[in-house]
Symmetry: C7
Subunit: 287 residues, 7 copies
């Protein structure tokens, strides 16, 4: 009956269009939910940072990690949601145009020529985003970590999918594109190591110096303040690291909490110097 | 009735053409408005510069930041508007030609061959524009900031989407293509750090030197002029940074306002030298 | 009536062909005019060179700038006109062949295979032209400027869209491809800076040396000849730039007109040496 | 009979769709099984690590190697399974849409444009995965090995298909993208070598020094502790490695177990020094 | 009448084929003539070499330049003619095959697959040819010039579109691919500069030394032999170029004819040394 | 008759499918045989290694070379066979699907999109395989040779198509991707050269030193042990290689068997030192 | 008559197939002949080596050059012939399949996907072949020449289209890929230059030293042995090449036959030293 009415095709078209658009929005919402769930699971997956930090963590740090996890999930999710929206709604619009028998070739031509022109130049951008995505997924570093990103070394102030913002020791703020970071060194995961080289004269008493240094190591490990908040193991003394005509070089090292190696090194230098002075042993030039 | 008139198809064509063109212009205007709105929102989004600068800002600086925000929005918007115009009007023209059954293949062939030839070479250009876009969006630096752009270091004089213009300390003007800047160091965001290494003799009184330096630090922090316009924290004295056969190196550092680190360093050098001189302690060569 | 004549299709074809070709030439001329107008407007847009130079300009310099502006417009316009001609006339020819039902596929195949083969290799060329285009548009440098183009430093002798020709201090002529210049330093825009480091003995009278140097600065600024044609600001004396066991380093700097920094530096050296000599203060090695 | 029912095509379509999807899932499971089997075989293939380590292996190491083998197989398999799932299910979905005469061109267009745009940028990612795949397949290194990955040197903490995580001697954690590692040096496979250069005076007794050093070599080889857990061959003494106006340089080397070269070098230095001291021969500067 | 003969289509085909081939050869010849004319005009366009050389040119040099111009035109023309021949005759052959209804798809497929495979690798070759083309067009250098091509420095022995052949001072023959030359320094265009640094003692008589050097400059300029065939301007004496604790450095420079700077420098050294010797002033070390 | 049966098309399809598959397997086997034959011929082609080694070869070495030749052929053949199998069977499967009128477009689309995405990233892999193929074909090096592969220097432990495994002097195992090796230096082909520079005092007796060195050369050549297993030519003495204010440098060189240059150099140093000592001539510093 | 037989199409097909294949083989042979002729002409074209070598050539060298020319022609021809065979026979096979209405799309799909995958990675290979082709065509070097190929310096032992095999002075064999050689320095074409710097004391008799050196030059030129087989011009003495506070540096140079510069330099050193000794003039340090 209705099929013969002159406005029947119009109505049919309108219904199709509405259906396609509704379907598009439904798919978009479903995909957003899926992305949220997947991303949350990925972000909460036991990252090595959380595992390492647990040993020395307090509730405050746990809260911090939760916050960080949430931020990571949001940052990663937002771009994926944008991409999903563009693909699904773009497809819907093109399908609608197609159903209405509106020619889409000219549109595709315009967009295509521009798209290729831009595509060549945008690959760096895509590289940055992909790199940022995986950095977040693998939780390579977060706000507050001290990292060596090659182009700059400093404390992370912000991580976005495209750039990482660092502040170096001089207060300079660095923006490093994620795609240009081929390797990252994170100094804030688990532990660091402080060490000091002790060059003594060629004719020094090898055994005596060693005993002296081991004594310093024990003292340090016995110091409650250092043990509580700075070092995680008794310092170790290595034997003759270098041997030449003018000097024997001993080495003393200490495993410390992250970011404490500079303070511990200063402590080592002070105590070793004091010990050598009191024992009347002179340090010599290594040059 | 009219449908049978011989000029009916012509009239229909003309109406279609006019409709397409009108639609094209309407879409173009709508897209421009959208871009303006989106770009303004992006530009006013709390950039880190504005947040940091608030602490020490005066109304004049606020006005400056507003001006800068407006400029950023305009620069970003202009290119997006050009792209939108080209896509929309190009599509409209192609659709018109198609509706008039004028063959567009030869045109596409000519433009396509040339387009591919140029596309390869233009990717650098697109890279520059994309990089410039994101730099502005992230407000990495603005006119007046002192930045390290890798290829050149200096004060930003102008930021366009393709190049950044710097003037270095010697007055040389540098044009750096945005796409070649893989990392930027901005010295004008938040704070800088001045520091001075103080090498003293191996047998110097460690505690005495430290007390002396801490006294200098307190003096500096107490100086109303420095405190008001130069430094933001009491200078800190680090213990023995280096220890060798000939010298002990102490370090004194001070957090300063952006771009004040050179002046504060000179002040540190003057005061530390005076203090050491009056205490009769000599600085030694670190070499 | 005529429609039935056997030669009617031939006549119709001929008319179509003529119409297409006429249209092609009309479009070509219109596009050339457009390019001329756009390029002129871009070239006369207040370039920073003209703005800076105004301060110290004479009518001769204004004439020079006009000439330079005209040249830039012509250089930029010529390539754009060639591209427009090729696109429009190429399209016209292909349309004519198509209308005459001459198969254009073989032609396109030949040109296409060769075009892709050449396209890969020509991207450097296109890069050079695009870079040159924007350099001219932004008026980064012109004939007579002293620039640092990375690969070579010298005075610009010619700027084309593909290469920049420099002559260095030794008289060597350098041809640098514009696309290989990622950053340009222009020493002829606005001002330059001359400076001199003055190392004095560690036990020198800090205040006395500073007063002496400030006196030299005032003298220089008072010299009518220097003031008129060489320097633009009273020289500044910076405090202790470096401080070590053997020397204190003072610095004196002067903002000069472009390209005058070498002459002003020589003047500074002569006058500072004379002043130190007469005051009996010796300069020491900074090493 | 049924063929004429109006709902017959619908039923036929539904059956086809179900068949395709079932076939898709079956193929997917089959491919996963195949991948598991292939990957397991590849992982258990006699890697050089296992062969070398056998010589000095205990049951604990064997268990470790089994664990490592299993991990490798899982890591490699997971990505291959994802790729197989995507290809098979993607094909199934597209076939279903095709069978239901739903136009898939718009979908392909949207995905295609985005895919090309992303494809350019994702090549680094694919490179990383391919590199990681082959590294695992060839068992170049595993968790616990000390490697030189160019960008960083340290102990492997984790190997994924995209990045390798190292911890260097200072406790810094390095994330190195597998695709950026063009060569890997593994210090934990088979053996290492410790050596010591012994410069003596030009007029020293060549034969005497050689005999002395060979005596030290024998002593070391005779030491049960060293022989059991550190060195694998009697140390060798090479003759005059360098000869100049001031010194003759002898060399003594020892093949050690992996990662024992530093300890053995220290032992060498201690013993050679003691031997030279007791023989009254002085080591001289090689400079 | 003839139209109905059975061999009519064959005859028609044959005629068409012949016409196409004839047309092809005619077009090829026309294009060759055009290329010859264009290339000749480009080559005779006032190159900077000819303009500079005119000042000091003799008829012999003019003849040389004409010869060089002719060679350049021939080199450039030959490749363009080959390309034109390939395009035109290739199109003709394909059109003939098409008209004879011989399927050309398989041929295109074979050539296409191979063409793409080769195209990737041939881009370096095309780059070399394009670079060579423009070098010749811009007359950057010619046989006999001394150039710095980055990879090698020497006298040009041959210029082809792909490589430049140099012979360096040691007699080594260098083949440098034109596409790898990003900047060229030509030492044989216009003039060169000889200079000599004269370090004197810190306490030397500044004015006296300057007068002495200016006297030497005048003497040199007065020497008829030097003036005629070596230098083009009176040498200039610059004031104190460097000033340190141990020496004052004066500089004397002279603009010379191309390739005469080494001889003039030797002359400068001889005369300045003689003048200083006779005045009893010693040159000191600048180190 | 049968043609009219309703199941006739099914039977025909089945027969076609079987025929295609059989043909595919036949072609695959034929191609494998061909590859085996070609590869064997290529591998046995007189490689330079075998030619050079013949001179000093024993039957054991011949057996080794045969083994190496066989391995090379197998390594090269295996990949070629895989590629041939994939092409032939892939074509067969697609043809079968096509014959059964199963739509292959969706499959191609899925595989194509993934293929392009992977293709970009896999080019490094293909490069490695191609490089490895040609290295094997040209027999650049084999297991046991000492090579300089740029990224690492050491003894080849394994050669696969993708990587070369080396072990350096310290026992470190290096995996170097074949595609990253742009040049290889093989120290185990034909001969090596040992040499020693002999600096004597400026006033030394030139003729006397030369005679002395030539005497040493003769002695070495006369030594049966050295001649048999180490050197291949009488050592040569070159005249004054360097001449300065403090020393005259003579050089003595000896062609040795591969990998014997270090031992021969030590022998040279011992004998030359002894000869100079006994003649009372002192070696001097060359610095 | 026959046209109606049922097997007529089969016969027609068979005839067509045979015709196509015959035509393919004919074309292949014709192309091979053409390539042989073209390549021979290119190889015999007056290469610069032959021209230069003529001056000093003997019949033996002429024979050598002929041999080399022939080898070059064969090497170049072989690859071109392979390419021609593949294109022509591949086209023939595809045409045959097409005529037999066998679907070639699946075959092309398989080959195409693999071809693109390989094409990306094979570009280096193609680059090497193209570079090798042109090196041979331009006769840049041949077996026996001493060349500097950047990655390695030595005597050419073999030239293939992909790699050049060198042996350096230490006997190491280098395989350098032709495509990685951006510039080649050939030391065996025409002549080389030996030179020696002669530093004398600042107060030396400039004229006397020069006369002395010129005397040595004449002596050398007068020596029949040197003149016949080593040098090609009388050595030249340059004036003061360097002038400082401690030394005057003279230079003496001699043009030699290729590869004789080391021997001539030794001769120069011996004779100059003798002359200076007998004249009582000491050489001084240039440092």
């Amino acid at each position: 009956m209705l099929d013969n009415a002159p406005w029947a095709p119009l109505v049919a078209s309108a219904i199709t269009v509405v259906l396609i658009l509704v379907l598009g929005f439904v798919l978009r919402n479903v995909s957003h939910r899926l992305i949220t769930r997947v991303v949350n699971r990925a972000a909460t997956g036991g990252s090595i940072t959380s595992r390492f930090r647990k040993d020395t963590a307090t509730d405050g740090i746990d809260a911090l990690l939760n916050e960080r996890r949430k931020q990571r999930a949001e940052t990663m999710g937002s771009v994926l949601k944008h991409v999903a929206s563009i693909v699904i709604l773009g497809t819907a619009v093109l399908t609608v145009l197609d159903r209405l028998t509106i020619p889409i070739a000219p549109l595709l031509t315009s967009v295509g020529i521009l798209g290729v022109a831009i595509g060549f130049g945008a690959q760096e951008l895509v590289k940055d985003f992909i790199a940022g995505m995986f950095m977040l997924l693998e939780d390579q570093y977060g706000v507050g970590d001290v990292i060596d990103a090659g182009a700059a070394v400093g404390t992370v102030e912000a991580v976005t999918l495209r750039v990482t913002r660092l502040r170096d020791a001089d207060g300079r703020v660095w923006y490093v594109r994620n795609g240009t970071i081929t390797r990252v060194g994170n100094e804030s995961q688990g532990w660091s190591r402080a060490y000091m080289d002790v060059p003594v004269a060629y004719d020094a008493d090898v055994v005596g110096v060693r005993v002296l240094l081991e004594h310093v190591a024990e003292e340090i490990w016995a110091d409650p303040e250092l043990r509580e908040s700075k070092i995680v193991e008794q310092p170790q003394v290595f034997g003759v690291e270098q041997l030449s005509d003018s000097s024997l070089v001993f080495r003393i090292t200490a495993k410390t909490l992250p970011a404490q190696q500079a303070a511990v090194s200063r402590e080592l230098r002070l105590r070793v110097k004091a010990a050598l002075d009191s024992a009347g042993i002179a340090m010599v030039s290594t040059a």
